[in-house]
């Protein structure tokens, strides 16, 4: 009954490959995010979807493409992987506004590009 789940937990791949990370939330939230956490623990937002619509798209290479088949899922596809893509990627979902505003994070996917 995990609230926000990600698969896989670890992903090791070669440069130039294409890979996907999946995220699912069973909380009924409308908004989901992808964050990238680099080796210095800096956490940066990449994308946000609200009811399957893209609402935040930070300056991210277009090799990264999010896909939201329904509001419970937000997947991240990465083409032509580069060494600099190595990081931990977190999915999050969000509920409410104002005092009820809370983000719930998944456990992360550690991507290593060799």
């Amino acid at each position: 009954d995990t609230a926000v789940s990600q698969t896989p937990k670890y992903l090791v791949t070669q440069m130039g490959n294409d890979k996907s990370i999946k995220c699912e939330q069973n909380l009924g939230h409308d908004t989901m995010y992808w964050y990238k956490q680099d080796s210095k623990k800096f956490l940066k937002i990449m994308f946000s979807y609200n009811n399957k619509e893209l609402i935040i798209n930070e300056t991210v290479p277009n090799r990264f493409s999010p896909k939201s088949p329904d509001k419970a899922h937000l997947n991240l596809h990465i083409n032509s992987l580069e060494l600099g893509d190595s990081a931990v990627y977190f999915c999050a979902s969000r509920t409410g506004t104002g005092s009820t505003d809370t983000q719930y994070f998944g456990p992360g996917t550690r991507l290593t590009v060799l």
């Binding site: 926000v4 800096f42 937002i45 609402i55 719930y104």
Partner: protein
């Protein structure tokens, strides 16, 4: 520009001692402020949040934070630290300005010595 500064990259405290983690923010409107904790290999967990009202906010695990608008600060405190509190702590700011995008600080790593 919206930003969050956590001046201390790491802090070491003795078990049972008090703790204060500093956070300063820059935000163009009324901020929503958050503190998250990340244990090694885990996702982020919300400790507490401030939206409005009482500037002293109570959170989980015995943590509290005080919002000081005049100093643009939202420092996290705990009166007596336990060894299990050793983790990475992130301050974050968000709000209506910027489409509810949450900006995270670089984090402060807390070490607890026996």
């Amino acid at each position: 520009a919206q930003s969050v500064t956590q001046p201390d990259i790491h802090i070491t405290v003795s078990e049972g001692a008090s703790l204060e983690l500093r956070c300063n923010y820059s935000y163009g409107a009324t901020p929503y402020l958050f503190w998250y904790v990340q244990s090694p290999g885990q996702g982020l967990q919300l400790l507490l949040k401030y939206f409005s009202g009482d500037t002293l906010v109570q959170g989980i695990k015995g943590f509290e934070a005080e919002f000081k608008r005049s100093q643009s600060s939202f420092n996290l405190r705990k009166p007596s630290v336990h060894w299990s509190d050793a983790a990475e702590y992130f301050c974050a700011v968000g709000g209506r300005s910027g489409g509810f995008k949450t900006i995270f600080g670089a984090g402060t790593r807390l070490f607890v010595k026996a």
